[in-house]
């Protein structure tokens, strides 16, 4: 690990003032410290945000929106009863990610700015345009089972690894940001970026900016009775998604009044297609309808290597997540969250 300076500011203003090119902000450290060990990242300065005041609350605001401070730990959000009752698929997605130890340390703000788990990025040695712009991409032609099938480019075929980000995208979350030029907000749909020719620019954050909160709009809670996250992975727990889907419905008088669908691990950002959601509105829920929606959500998918199977896997996962959502949110969190196993009532 490269040596670094360490500072622990007491306010957002101090944190932003401490930022210099080459510095990195530190939250729970579960991703950054790991990447510093592999050599994939080597910040000259760590600015520890974990003692900033006022960023660890989950609040329902006057307009009905829910504001999650960026320093709320993943486990604290997922196990917050009021939050999980309003946004069950967000809680389910968090509990489907990482391990209990990592969820206890990882912050929700850090979850959004975590880096891809593409092994060629992580190892600090392979050619990676995301890590070293212009150097090339060793992932292309490599093992592409975890790589993108949507929105990738010749510069980068990596996926975003967050489970949490997928239901946030489906629910139109808004990201609150502070930085050298003041505060601003970015819709979740614009927060993560597709690689294009600049894969090193992973998010909408400008240099020195910090995620301070995540806000869910009031209308997002309308989906509470019919929302599920489903995650396919190589083992049932403590593994990143091969593909995943967040599905949420409002069902009135036997017909779908509103629908949300976002896919994870298929692109460098959560993948959401307005047309796939719109075609479900006004229809009664059915397997055929969900298959059509899933196909529409995956329109334009292209293998980035030997991973064509992910396209069909993602379609089936999306359709199954919609069927689970239609069946209703389970009364209690399944023992194996977001798993195809152990949930017979909602298979």
């Amino acid at each position: 690990m490269r040596a670094f300076d360490y500072t622990r500011p007491a306010s957002i203003e101090e944190a932003v003032a401490a930022w210099t090119p080459g510095a990195a902000y530190l939250g729970g450290g579960t991703n950054l410290v790991d990447l510093m060990k592999t050599g994939a990242m080597g910040p000259a300065k760590l600015i520890d945000l974990t003692c900033l005041p006022g960023l660890d609350a989950i609040e329902v605001k006057g307009d009905g929106s829910t504001r999650i401070g960026a320093l709320v730990r993943n486990s604290d959000l997922a196990h917050n009863r009021d939050f999980a009752a309003r946004f069950p698929m967000v809680a389910e997605a968090i509990l489907a990610g990482a391990s209990a130890q990592l969820r206890n340390a990882a912050t929700v703000g850090g979850n959004l700015v975590q880096h891809t788990r593409c092994p060629f990025f992580q190892d600090g040695i392979s050619a990676c345009n995301r890590r070293d712009p212009g150097i090339g991409c060793d992932a292309i032609g490599g093992d592409t089972g975890s790589m993108a099938v949507l929105g990738w480019s010749q510069s980068c075929i990596a996926t975003h690894p967050s489970d949490f980000a997928v239901p946030l995208a489906a629910l139109d979350a808004v990201i609150e940001i502070a930085g050298p030029n003041g505060s601003r907000e970015v819709p979740m749909a614009e927060f993560h970026r597709l690689p294009g020719d600049t894969p090193e620019k992973e998010t909408a954050l400008e240099p020195g900016e910090i995620v301070t909160a995540i806000r869910l709009p009031a209308e997002a809670a309308a989906f509470a009775a019919h929302s599920r996250y489903l995650k396919l992975r190589e083992r049932t727990s403590f593994a990143f998604a091969l593909v995943s889907a967040a599905a949420a419905l409002v069902i009135e008088d036997g017909r779908i009044a509103a629908a949300r669908l976002a896919l994870g691990a298929v692109a460098a950002k959560p993948w959401r297609v307005a047309g796939a959601e719109a075609l479900m509105v006004g229809e009664p829920p059915s397997p055929e309808l969900f298959a059509r929606a899933a196909t529409a959500a995956m329109e334009g998918a292209m293998p980035s290597g030997d991973n064509a199977h992910k396209i069909e896997l993602a379609r089936r996962t999306a359709a199954r997540a919609l069927a689970r959502a239609a069946a209703g949110t389970p009364a209690e969190m399944p023992a194996l969250p977001a798993s195809v196993f152990g949930d017979p009532a909602h298979a």
């Binding site: 579960t30 206890n104 340390a105 049932t236 403590f238």
Partner: protein
Amino acid sequence: MSHSISLTVNGARHDVTLEDARVTLLDLLRERLQMPGTKKGCDRGQCGACTVLVDGRRVNSCLTLAVTVDDSDIVTIEGLAEGDSLHPVQTAFIEHDGFQCGYCTPGQIMSAVGLIAEGHAGDDLERIREGMSGNICRCSAYKGIAEAVQDAARRMAADEERKSA
């Protein structure tokens, strides 16, 4: 740049000067504070051998920079027993053969103590297995581990009930 931190480990206060901010909590415990009970497995947050409690929460000490735990209260495997009297989770691991080589065991036990304190798994074996998935056992003693955690959770719940009765 050196950093002075003060932390409590198993009830004892330690004032430590870190010459280098790169030191992890795991290395601080093992190499500076002479507490090698906490094990280094993968050193990347993937195996759980380094699990300790920080302010009552189980975390991977290998991914925790020591400089960030200033003022924290740490519990390691060395802090569980009271003299010769083992913690109920330690007793249960012995009774249920929850290990073979033993290398992952301190992390397994600390993780189980954290899991039981969190209270989300109760004595449901499926939830215990899911809640313990951050701890890898390459001898594959999982059956004994899960049963040990279930047994300890039951005993500790019964003890709580007796105390509050």
